[in-house]
């Protein structure tokens, strides 16, 4: 068991190293590398940041500074299903804050947190370009919900719960 986890990790680091090799020599590569690393690992724990610093030959403090500056980078794991509630202007005017409240209540977490079972995390995002369908919720990278009312929230959550960890 232990060993296979290790192997899995090794594979991930190897994938990252290959990417770093591809973009090497480019002084602006840090942000790109971090995007890739987050895509591979799901988040950017300090070990991964140290690894990147070493590979790019820059101080860890610089990597850390960049990670903490940009909101898309996260050092904490996120839920399997990331629930992104649009709090752009159009959605706000159409009551998106009420949706956020309802999701918080139903999942019993705050914005930015992950549910205990690791299934859901809650995020506020800005304009998803679907203002006509406001208020809009996006789950994962491709599931869009438009003109959502707070009442529909429990049902939406249930759909994903039924899918479970799959």
């Amino acid at each position: 068991m232990e060993k296979s986890v290790c192997k899995e990790h090794e594979k991930l680091y190897r994938e990252l190293d290959e990417f770093i090799q591809e973009v090497e020599g480019d002084s602006s590569a840090l942000i790109e590398v971090l995007h890739k690393a987050q895509q591979i690992f799901g988040h950017l724990p300090i070990e991964v940041q140290e690894h990147i610093a070493e590979k790019l030959n820059i101080p860890v403090s610089k990597v850390f500074g960049v990670v903490t500056f940009y909101s898309l980078f996260t050092m904490k794991p996120r839920g399997k299903y990331q629930i992104k509630i649009c709090l752009g202007t159009a959605c706000y005017v159409k009551g998106a804050d009420k949706l956020m409240d309802r999701f918080k209540e139903e999942l019993e977490i705050e914005e930015g947190e992950v549910t205990k079972d690791g299934l859901f995390s809650l995020h506020a995002v800005r304009c998803l370009g679907a203002c006509s369908m406001a208020p809009v919720v996006m789950i994962g990278e491709s599931d869009f919900y438009g003109r959502v009312t707070p009442d529909e929230v429990p049902k939406i959550i249930r759909n994903y719960k039924n899918r479970g960890g799959k």
Partner: protein
């Protein structure tokens, strides 16, 4: 059967996706396969076609027939009737006030009629993945003309004469910026396209990138020639994966065709473009912060001067323009400066693309000539406010902008007029607000945004906006005092005067403009502890009218916290101590027995 030339365009803008575009596309493709048409009829996803509230939208070309509200059922008709039999599916056509609009005259739809499309001329008309379609609509003709017939100085002269101003927010004359960058002495220069689109209620730039990526590449290359640059970068938000994919594809095609790379069109001029991806920081839309971000650093702004035109990327002169600004360049080169300058007003030439949203009937992406009045925009194009509600204000310019009250609806949309009203043109978000919108709450919303996004470099911006937000929160909780309003104004002035970049310098605008036009609403919150629009949770209560309540129990069943009590067929009651003001009960009561009250 002349089916082989058909292309079916399906809008994959954000609104259409959230209305179910993906599954419509799937069924469409299955149907085409079923009739063995999948090899001959192409299905292409485009950027936003504009009429977002009618989505998902499907268009059949070359006829140019647009179908609205397509779903997984009626999409089959498009294949079986239109494609196979050549019969237009009448009942699915765009709907106007007088009923369905015949295919040929869909421009008659009020939503399209007053629009003039320059920057968005190709959106929803061409396949953005196919360079040939761009070329067929005069694509890369402007570049060819520039490289073979014009000197860089002549190009700059045309752009100057056109009167084009930056569409990224500040409205700086584009030709002048090009000239400054040209005049900066250096052997290396860069062109940057600002595709960071930070306004949280706007998606014009995204739509242009997704729907017509080549126009940006062509314009950047023209700019490179004009300023004497060799390399371009497009800085795109990571939140726009489709735009990034389309741009990558477009760059490859342009290189293949010899419009990018070494010795373009055999003229000896070389220029190439790369993409850089942001990481979620609003301040990175500011040009000096953006440059830091491209260099792989924290995206904090620098003091100007030096301006990027003098010292930009890696210290070299750099021209930065917005996506929409660039999208205007090829038509200006082809049709001439005088043509462009003939559209718009004295000081604001050409058109502006707006993302029209909020409490308005026809929402979507619109491109209108400068100088059109807000009234025309909102009523003639937007169809007015739905549900017979009264228009209260229009917000432009996002977190840097302001709210314009209904009295000023006849104001022409141009840089100066909007600024005079305490709003700004901004990048193009236009949000309509009705009587149910609380202006204090709106101001709080924008300030929350700035507090989240301040990069923290300047104390007034970092601490001052936080302080303002605290005051607004206090007011919306009903704990405001009369001095608070003056405090807000004072703080606002200090932040404007002492912040380094545009974020801080404009952050107080949403508060100051609402204080100016809706002071009575602030005063109601402060003096009477009342929210006239009945929005601020701490100042409202939900009540059930025992006369109207029939005891159907619908509300009690939907209440998530069990605040509603009452027996079947007897009047119900809400316990204000338990009620969280979620609003669910109002939605389900079919007897109109529940209402919000603010003392």
């Amino acid at each position: 059967m002349a089916v082989s030339t058909n292309t079916i365009l399906i809008c994959a803008g954000g609104a259409c996706i959230s209305a179910g575009e993906k599954s419509v596309k799937q069924v469409l493709e299955e149907k085409l396969r079923e009739y063995a048409l999948d090899g001959v009829v192409r299905v292409v996803e485009t950027g936003c076609m504009g009429a977002c509230d009618l989505g998902p939208i499907v268009a059949v070309f070359p006829e140019g027939v647009y179908y609205q509200k397509v779903n997984t059922e009626n999409v089959k008709k498009i294949v079986e009737e239109h494609i196979l039999k050549g019969r237009v599916v009448e009942e699915m056509l765009f709907e106007g006030p007088q009923g369905k609009i015949a295919a040929e005259v869909y421009e008659e739809h009020p939503f399209f009629k007053k629009q003039v499309k320059i920057a968005t001329r190709n959106l929803g008309i061409i396949d953005p993945m196919n360079i040939d379609e761009y070329i067929a609509r005069d694509g890369y003709f402007a570049l060819t003309k520039v490289l073979t017939e014009m000197t860089p100085e002549q190009v700059i002269e045309v752009v100057k004469k056109s009167g084009l101003r930056g569409r990224g927010g500040a409205g700086f004359p584009t030709g002048l910026k090009w000239e400054f960058t040209r005049k900066s002495q250096s052997d290396k220069k860069f062109v940057v396209c600002n595709a960071d689109e930070g306004d949280p209620g706007a998606f014009m730039d995204r739509s242009i990138l997704e729907g017509d990526p080549h126009t940006v590449l062509e314009a950047m290359t023209i700019a490179g020639y004009a300023i004497g640059g060799q390399k371009g970068y497009i800085y795109v938000r990571a939140e726009y994966p489709l735009a990034i994919e389309r741009l990558k594809n477009a760059i490859n095609q342009a290189r293949e065709y010899g419009f990018l790379g070494e010795n373009i069109l055999g003229t000896g001029f070389s220029f190439d473009i790369e993409i850089r991806i942001g990481a979620g920081a609003f301040v990175c839309g500011e040009e000096t912060a953006l440059i830091n971000s491209i260099e792989g650093k924290r995206g904090q702004p620098n003091v100007k001067p030096p301006y990027p035109a003098q010292k930009g990327l890696w210290g070299y002169p750099t021209l930065i323009n917005n996506v929409e600004t660039f999208a205007n360049i090829p038509p200006i080169i082809i049709k001439g400066a005088d043509w462009f300058a003939s559209i718009g007003t004295e000081t604001s030439k050409g058109t502006k693309v707006f993302a029209l949203a909020g409490k308005v009937k026809n929402t979507g992406l619109v491109e209108v000539p400068m100088g059109i009045t807000l009234r025309e925009l909102i009523y003639d194009i937007g169809g007015g406010v739905p549900n017979n509600k009264k228009l209260k204000a229009v917000q432009t310019g996002g977190p840097s902008g302001g709210c314009i009250p209904a009295e000023y609806l006849d104001t022409p949309v141009d840089y100066e007029s909007l600024k005079e009203l305490g709003a700004i043109m901004g990048s193009g978000g236009m949000i309509v607000m009705d009587e149910d919108t609380c202006m204090v709450d709106v101001a709080k919303f924008f300030l929350q945004f700035t507090v989240d996004e301040s990069c923290g470099k300047c104390t007034p911006c970092r601490e001052g906006t936080r302080k303002m937000l605290e005051i607004l929160e206090k007011i919306t909780r009903g704990e405001g005092e009369e001095e608070d309003l003056e405090k807000l104004e004072e703080l606002g002035k200090i932040i404007i005067d002492s912040s380094l970049c545009g974020l801080g310098q404009t952050a107080p605008n949403p508060v100051l403009s609402t204080l100016k036009y809706f002071r009575d609403e602030y005063e109601a919150h402060v003096k009477e502890k009342r929210c006239p629009a009945k929005v601020c949770k701490d100042l409202i209560r939900y009540v059930i009218d025992s006369e109207k309540c029939v005891g159907c129990t619908a509300c009690a069943r939907v209440c998530p916290v069990g605040a509603i009590s009452g027996e079947v067929r007897k009047a119900h009651d809400i316990d204000p101590e338990i009620c969280t003001r979620c609003g669910s009960c109002i939605e389900v009561c079919r007897f109109g027995a529940i209402s919000k009250v603010s003392p």
